[in-house]
Amino acid sequence: MSLSFEMPPGYRLEKFDNLDSTNEEAKRRAQTGAAAGLIISAQSQSAGKGRQGRTWISPSGGLYFSILLRPTCPAAKAAQLSFVSALAVGEGIATSLRVPERLCFKWPNDVLIGTRKVAGILLESGSGSKILEWLVVGIGINIESHPENMNYPATCLIHETGTACDPAQVLVNVVHAFDKWCRIWEGEGFEPLRVAWLDRARGLKTEIEVRLFEHSIRGVFQGLAPDGALRLEVPGEGERIIPAGDVYFPVQS
């Protein structure tokens, strides 16, 4: 095995051909005492998932993996791992892009190339009444193909690099970047992540729509609160701090 395929110290990879969902497997392992740093990857998922029970279409040729962590902090702080994850995916794929500058983030952790989504991230944790027992970061990256006719436009790495991409190499690159950003977060707090994320934020200072469950709010995306929540300037209301929701951008003609 080439050295470039080595994981950072503390991480260990278990590969599967097919799983229901790498998050589900990582959660099962968390509940039976697996140590932090376990990475579960699958070549395909039969029940890959996104926010609010949405399906993450997971044919072979994509990269699907979950990282098990045991953060010693409450959920409100651990949620900042959403930004650690987005920055890691961005850094892990940016160098292979034809135009790295097109890489951007949609709040809180979608990774886009231009206006199209290339990767999605979903975090799940154990019971959250106190310090979290465990947390699983699930990451799906479209490599060879991407779904059509979703509620958002999508793309895949092969379209954006122009050459074949080895999912195993992308995985290693992302995990190394994840380890790096995790250490920055633990050592220096959220601020460096906030700055790095905002540097590539899509739609900053423009009007966006945040869809909640049964309604949506429009306003100007003013940036991130110190904890990572979305700052939305709503006409007539002032600034609202939004902890969860789906961000949409106006259709550009």
Partner: protein
């Protein structure tokens, strides 16, 4: 004042060694709030106030006795009932996805480890357990509502 400082240090040590989320102490001269949640009501920082940072993101801050203890006091809980409270700011979800069966219904018996809801913050989904055995009396928070630290989510009657 040295004695007061020593007492506070002792309380902080006690809190660090405990599994409590929050500790509030009030005497004639002092009001002390220690919480592991940085957004906890009452955690206002006063200039020049002593500040102790605990490990693992726990915060301890000391407020003057003249300061109000909290921006908003938790709503009154009917006698005999126990509130399941939000551990942090986020969106309250009663079911795993739109259209799915809710985790719990009014009248349902629960155990301490029965999951009652999900709280979402920045795409992190955290299950909240009942924390006590009993019967669900009321689902206080609305599905998809934004809840804040300490908000009552569910009321449980532990006697039934």
């Amino acid at each position: 004042m040295d004695q007061t400082k020593n007492n506070i240090r002792a309380l902080v040590r006690l809190f660090e060694q405990s599994d409590w989320d929050e500790l509030r102490v009030e005497t004639k001269d002092l009001k002390l709030v220690i919480s592991k949640n940085a957004n906890a009501p009452g955690l206002t920082v006063l200039e020049n106030a002593p500040r102790t940072r605990l490990p693992s993101t726990a915060d301890a801050e000391i407020t003057d006795a003249t300061e109000p203890a909290a921006k908003s006091e938790p709503a009154e809980i009917p006698e005999g009932l126990v509130a399941v409270r939000a551990p942090n700011l986020g969106t309250f979800w009663r079911a795993p996805k739109p259209g799915a069966a809710p985790y719990i219904e009014v009248g349902q018996k629960v155990n301490a480890d029965t999951m009652v809801c999900l709280i979402e913050v920045m795409k992190l989904f955290t299950p909240i357990n009942a924390g006590i055995a009993g019967t669900v009396v009321e689902l206080v928070a609305e599905n998809s509502a934004m809840v804040e630290y300490g908000d009552t989510l569910v009321l449980i009657d532990p006697s039934t």
